[in-house]
């Protein structure tokens, strides 16, 4: 008998069932963490606070409606934000970014690290590239506490790569609280705020629908989905990025998870207290999705899905209609790595070139994305505008076109 068998069964996870306050609360601003951001169509800014387990809604009036949106490029955006917050660049964590629907100003949520504390801030980037720290207390706001907010004690379980012992960084990751994933993505849709994240119990992946203006009503649904690459039914890992689109004639939530299944959930299934099975239709493969941005290119409706470890994926919405819904019965058993012949699976569209790694992205205008991008060569963090048709820069590439001898058109046939 090995000791590991004896001790494994002693692993107990405690959940404290705190009774959540679900009333909207409009008193003094007690924001502790500025995380996920979302705008309503009229310019209400929603800020997810994973420390307080609450969503704050600020009325941010547009300074002006911007018709002629210019691309913005700001080098070393992290350093510039740190400068105005009065700290070194390593003391700023950028949590999310969203574009105001009217003014097209860019809003960035950050944590300002000061010793063992962090303070929330939201920074606005104007069309002229000027940075401004929002004086959040000067805006009128409402607050909605999340029902079933996870306890503040439970942390992740250390896990090493493929049977190896966990590294120091793996252990650091495991020291994070589950509640840090309470609010993963926010999505405003027809007077409601959809919130993906984890909730209190062992079936953690949860979708919430919260009416806005906040009136205390919120519906929470536990979501299960079949993950092709992992060959298992997953109920804990939360939705990372989502969008609502009309698929098969009805409004459906398209959701992307880590490693990276795409699922559809009809909106009418998201009712309070339900445990629902999402319809798995695709799997892009390993990696962690970050942003899912609906946009239009050449009259085609598309989704631009970024990942922390893959090239972005351009997914045509038309391909999601009549998609085959799959379960474990449709595949040979066993996990499927990216090199498996069946991967990527389903109507995943195309993987496209993106120079650098986008940490946060949104649509700036009809023709441009705005992205906070880690430069592959210098490691600098830059705010870039990328054309939707070819979302790239050229400065880290040298191609045939860069040579002085190159003449356009002259290379079309053999000399």
């Amino acid at each position: 008998m090995r000791l590991s068998k004896l001790t494994l069964c002693a692993t107990i996870i405690f959940f404290s069932f705190l009774s959540p306050k679900v009333k909207a609360d409009n008193k003094t601003l007690d924001l502790k963490f500025a995380g996920a951001l979302e705008f309503s169509n009229t310019g209400t800014l929603f800020v997810g606070d994973n420390f307080n387990g609450a969503i704050y809604a600020f009325d941010i009036d547009a300074d002006s409606v911007q018709d002629n949106v210019k691309p913005i490029r700001i080098g070393d955006i992290d350093v510039r934000i740190a400068n105005i917050l009065g700290v070194g660049p390593r003391a700023v964590e950028i949590n999310d970014m969203k574009v105001h629907p009217k003014s097209r100003e860019i809003f960035i949520s950050v944590s300002r690290i000061n010793g063992h504390r962090s303070e929330p801030a939201v920074v606005k980037v104007a069309q002229d590239g000027g940075l401004e720290v929002l004086d959040l207390v000067s805006y009128s706001f409402t607050k909605q506490n999340l029902a079933h907010y996870p306890d503040q004690k439970t942390t992740f379980k250390p896990r090493g790569l493929m049977g190896m012992p966990p590294t120091t960084k793996d252990i650091t990751k495991a020291n994070n609280k589950l509640s840090s994933l309470a609010i993963m993505d926010l999505l405003f849709h027809e007077g409601e705020l959809l919130v993906s994240g984890v909730a209190y119990d062992d079936f953690l992946s949860t979708l919430r629908r919260i009416s806005y203006p906040f009136d205390g009503t919120q519906r929470a649904t536990n979501v299960e989905m079949y993950h092709i690459a992992h060959d298992q039914y997953e109920t804990r890992a939360p939705i990372r990025a989502m969008s609502i689109q009309e698929i098969d004639g009805k409004n459906q939530l398209i959701a992307a998870y880590t490693c990276s299944p795409l699922v559809l959930i009809p909106l009418d299934k998201i009712v309070d207290g339900a445990k629902i099975s999402a319809n798995t239709i695709a799997d892009i493969g390993n990696g962690q999705p970050i942003d899912m941005i609906p946009y239009k290119l050449n009259d085609q409706n598309l989704l631009f899905l970024t990942s922390n470890s893959r090239s972005p994926q351009v997914i045509p919405l038309a391909g999601l209609n009549d998609a085959q819904v799959v379960t474990d019965k449709d595949f040979e058993r066993g996990p499927k790595l990216d090199i498996s012949p069946i991967m990527p699976f389903g109507p995943v569209g195309k993987s496209v070139m993106f120079d650098g790694s986008s940490l946060h992205m949104d649509l700036l205008s009809d023709n441009f994305f705005v992205s906070i991008t880690r430069d592959v060569k210098t490691g600098s963090l830059n705010l870039d505008s990328n054309q939707t048709i070819f979302p790239n820069r050229l400065h880290n590439l040298v191609a045939e076109f860069d040579f002085p001898q190159y003449k356009p058109g002259a290379n079309k046939k053999l000399p």
Binding site: R2, L3, K5, L6, T7, C9, A10, R80, A82, N83, I84, L85, G86, V87, G88, A91, R112, N114, G115, E119, A121, L131, E132, V133, D135, T168
Partner: protein
């Protein structure tokens, strides 16, 4: 406390700062005139007000306004006074100042940062000046609020094995410090000295990396195994570092700097006598176990047959219930690592418990239950992952 920098003091500070800047740039000709500490004419200083540099993170920056600003109807204070994140060497071109607000009466202006200052961060105060011969120019005053780190006297807080009699083949020494020490210089300070005062330079195993704990407060020092293992070349050439019957001192010289460069370490020494080498496998059958009474919170005690490795004792012995669950409680190492005490958090509930000892638990000479550190190549090792000792409670 408030540091009020008087104009004369400011002149000294700025002049010396300027000299440093010139020195770094390699000559006055290479400094740019704008946005820089500009050479100060004494005439310019006399008319300028004093600046209050914060010494606490929540303190404002305060500037007494020069007379020409007094009673002026409209002043853009954000033009007059700014604070930047900078070390003052190349401030503040193409850089945005820290966000904050201004409070002013007609004699002084205060800049209150939106977020409090951060200890240890370099800041620069930039004040706009004006003089008849220079026009508008800026003066820079760097400042930093020193972190309030608790003062810990750097000292050796423990050495393990803690006994004064160590076997000839002792392998590992743990030196505990009160604060993290400067790395890569350990063996400039750590010495093995014999009774005649002679230092043995080859006693310890020296790696490219020192074996520090994660908090950098515990250093593992290995006696060179080549000296311990019989009939290997270093053993034949130099003989064992420790000889049975002799006395030695482990000396840690004072002056070793701490990792953060505060006061140096106080010197330390530990005397010990060398006993016979440990050349038998540890035998749990010779351990004396004192069983606690059921339904009590009495301490379970093990008296070992030899001293064990202090660090491994912290993790290699567990107490498990009959159902196989680890019993939670506090363990304590006693009597120079020859005893182990365990006090449960909750009263003992089972009539029988198990002490589970990892087969790789080593004694102070590096011998474990599987093999001796120094064994012949033909000796087979025991494949014992764990040793289960059943204990009947009283």
């Amino acid at each position: 406390m408030t540091i009020r920098v008087k104009p004369t003091l400011l002149a000294v500070t700025l002049t010396s700062f300027l000299l440093v800047a010139i020195h770094r740039e390699g000559g006055i000709g290479s400094t740019r005139p704008s946005d820089r500490a500009v050479q100060l004419g004494s005439a310019a200083l006399v008319s300028e007000g004093s600046l209050t540099v914060p010494s606490r993170v929540t303190q404002a920056v305060e500037l007494n306004l020069p007379e020409r600003y007094w009673d002026r109807a409209r002043i853009d204070y954000s033009e007059v006074l700014q604070v930047y994140v900078d070390n003052g060497k190349d401030c503040c071109t193409n850089k945005a100042p820290i966000v904050g607000s201004y409070e002013a009466d007609n004699r002084s202006v205060r800049f209150i940062p939106k977020f409090s200052f951060v200890e240890g961060q370099d800041y620069v105060i930039r004040v706009q000046h004006r003089s008849a011969n220079q026009g508008v120019f800026h003066k820079l005053t760097p400042f930093k609020i020193q972190p309030k780190t608790p003062v810990v006297k750097p000292e050796v807080t423990g050495v393990y094995p803690s006994g004064n009699i160590l076997p000839e083949n002792v392998l590992r020494l743990y030196i505990h410090f009160s604060t993290p020490m400067k790395p890569h210089v350990a063996f400039n300070y750590i010495k093995l000295v014999d009774a005649s005062g002679k230092v043995d330079d080859a006693a310890f195993m020296k790696f490219k990396q020192e074996l520090w704990s994660e908090d950098r407060k515990r250093l593992t020092v290995l006696m060179d195994p080549g000296r311990i293992k019989r009939n290997v070349s270093t053993n034949l050439g130099l003989g064992p570092a420790l000889q049975k019957g002799e006395s030695y001192q482990l000396v840690i010289d004072g002056g070793w700097p701490t990792a953060n460069g505060t006061k140096p370490l106080a010197s330390f020494s530990k005397s010990f006598v060398v006993s016979e080498a440990l050349r038998e496998l540890p035998n749990s059958g010779n351990w004396i176990i004192t069983a606690p009474a059921i339904r009590s919170k009495d301490t379970l005690t093990i008296k070992f047959d030899r001293p064990f490795d202090h660090q491994l004792l912290h993790k290699d012995i567990k107490v498990v219930s009959i159902a196989g669950e680890k019993i939670k409680g506090k363990s304590l190492i006693g009597h120079h690592e020859t005893e182990w005490h365990f006090k449960p958090n909750e009263a003992w509930m089972d009539e029988q418990i198990y002490i589970v000892v990892d087969g790789e638990l080593e004694d102070v000479a590096g011998n474990n239950f599987q093999d001796l550190l120094d064994h012949s190549v033909t000796t087979e090792t025991n494949k014992i992952p764990y040793i289960f000792i059943s204990v009947d409670l009283l």
